[in-house]
Symmetry: C2
Subunit: 380 residues, 2 copies
């Protein structure tokens, strides 16, 4: 039976990309591979909103997050991290693992950090060298105000490090304009690829910080990779050749569609899904700052979303994701990244309605689907 | 035109595996993915020669090497590494980067380390906690005597850490029997996959060392991954889902062929290539301890192997690799790993003959090809 993938990563990969990756493999120290690598890295820049180099790693997005921490700071240096969900919390774990002094801004799940909170934290911890935040926190389906935070950090000697794993390619990122010093992403979201590639771009002042950092590193050494990728047109260590070929293809497709249209498509899918939730009388985890790449719907009292997700996946063939940590059993997360069209939201919401009814909720069947269609009819 | 890939990694991927990886992607926190991961990890054990857990990382083999260094030793601890080529040298770079005290056993390129040299180094540096070596040094096409070194380390409180990147799946590895404490490999060699998966297995005493190590680590934290992969049947961070599906398929194929036959096939291909070199009057870089996965042939005086390799690849469509570092321009390396049959060596050697003649060598055309055929006729 045909399966549907609405998880917030891995996201569906287009057949064109799957077939590109199924081509016979080539060696990575050849002009042929260099041409692919150079083109893919160039094509990434507009998605990052940067004129700086984008560096690729054979690793998942978490590896690129590690590269940011281990290359920009030294042990003993202070950093602020926004913990508004599982991935914000992860910044803190990295900082602790590598011997930095982390200062946490704790944000309730589903709320965006206020720029004033960052400013206050910087005043309280004036020795801070960097602020770590998510552009979009996947666990809470929430967007943080990166541009506003950038206004605060760029006037200080403080780096702004942003996890853009569910943001780059989903909605517009203006890394250079916003004063973002490091922007990280992974392959398995809006870039429409399997997982296995981590990416990071740095600002000029972040590259200066790389030179000063004494944190031990080797595989994720950004200085070595910059030299290899910019000057030698290959990677320092064996790259994930097939994923990079796929990346080049998926970027070709995204640029052919046009980035504005890609971003508008994500907006339509997100708004349609939110409208559907409201039409079903359900609450969103993040009503005030919802993410364009994934929508978090809170189940009614007494419904275990673990069972909803299982029923959707195993009986209906429609994969979505439940909540993590404190939202386990309470949240359904519907991803709308990857090879999806707005019409696919009809399927996601239809399956959600059926599964919620199956779990005992009194669902007004079709109300969500109708809301999706109404949003689709409005267009971009 | 049909292309041939005889580089010592990436190696040719079977169409069956390419198509498996082209299947629609699945989410990594599902029973479906867990079944694939568990099966692949189980199927790897006989190739490692271990009953211990094999841990997978979304990274190239170098990432798995880093995992060994960063999890088994602490800063300030002493280690011996065998530097008999580019990858042995890399062990030293890791040790330095992570603050250990490295003691080098320098071995001329193409020679295997003698077990007595390891014993002497251990006597000279009695505080040594671990010995790092390659089972097969890809840059010099040389096999090191791991089983013999294991006899020395296993009776001491010294870990034996082995890079098996061009060994696991190429020739028999008896990790448990030989007393190897950590065995590392990557996906893009005998496992017949694209690059992007690193693998490592540890002995029980190595797992004890993991608990004691204070080296900062996060992405490559083996304790975290052991818990995730053994107990939760998934990975700590997003895995390279498509590569793991492909791995499971390639392992199914290798086991269906039978590991003994797989190893015999590599032996035949290696011997046929060596016989061909000798028939052409060419010297091997490693006549006394040649690797079964890659053969290194020294070009005659005055021939630049960079040009030979380029001509083979760009004009003849046959990819092999040149020498690295001190052997740059002097060596041709023909890999015989991946989706290859012994007959493919006819192509590799034929192209080599044509390219050498093109570069000005007085080649007895067909002599190498005849030697390949003669070896093939003998069988296993």
């Amino acid at each position: 039976m045909k399966k549907y993938l609405f998880t917030p990563g891995p996201a569906a990969v287009p057949p064109e990309v799957l077939l590109e990756m199924a081509q016979p493999i080539i060696h990575h120290r050849t002009p042929q591979f260099s041409a692919v690598l150079d083109q893919a890295r160039e094509r990434l820049k507009p998605l990052f909103g940067t004129r700086q180099e984008v560096i690729l790693f054979a690793a998942s997005g978490t590896g690129a997050m590690e590269a940011a921490v281990a290359n920009l700071l030294s042990p003993g240096e202070h950093a602020i991290f926004v913990n508004g969900g599982k991935f914000g919390e992860r910044w803190g774990k990295f900082l602790k693992a590598f011997g930095m002094v982390p200062h946490e801004i704790k944000v309730e799940w589903g709320r965006a950090v206020r720029p004033g909170e960052v400013e206050d934290a910087l005043k309280a911890n004036p020795e801070t060298r960097a602020v770590f935040v998510q552009a979009s926190e996947t666990s809470t389906c929430t967007v943080h105000p990166v541009a506003e935070i950038g206004k605060i950090t760029r006037t200080r000697d403080v780096l702004l490090v942003v996890d853009g794993i569910t943001s780059v390619g989903v909605f517009e990122q203006k890394m250079d304009e916003w004063g973002v010093d490091a922007l990280v992403t992974g392959s398995q979201k809006a870039l429409m690829l399997p997982p296995g590639l981590g990416m990071i771009a740095l600002s000029p002042r972040a590259w200066d910080a790389v030179k000063k950092s004494t944190t031990p590193r080797f595989y994720f050494d950004l200085g070595r990779e910059l030299k290899a990728q910019r000057e030698e047109h290959t990677t320092a260590f064996t790259p994930a050749v097939s994923l990079i070929s796929g990346l080049n293809k998926s970027l070709e497709m995204l640029h052919a569609e046009g980035l504005e249209k890609v971003y508008a498509r994500h907006t339509i899918m997100a708004e349609a899904t939110r409208d559907a939730a409201r039409a079903l009388g359900l609450k969103l985890i993040s009503p005030d700052s919802p993410a364009p790449g994934v929508t978090g719907i809170i189940a009614p009292e007494g419904i275990d979303t673990g069972k909803v997700v299982k029923y959707m996946r195993d009986t209906l063939g429609v994969s979505v994701q439940g909540g993590q940590d404190q939202m386990k059993g309470r949240l359904v997360r519907i991803g709308h990244m990857g090879n999806l069209s707005p019409f696919d939201m009809l399927v996601a919401v239809s399956a959600l309605e059926i599964a919620l009814r199956n779990q005992g909720m009194d669902v007004k069947m079709g109300a969500g689907v109708a809301a999706v269609q109404a949003r689709l009819a409005k267009g971009a």
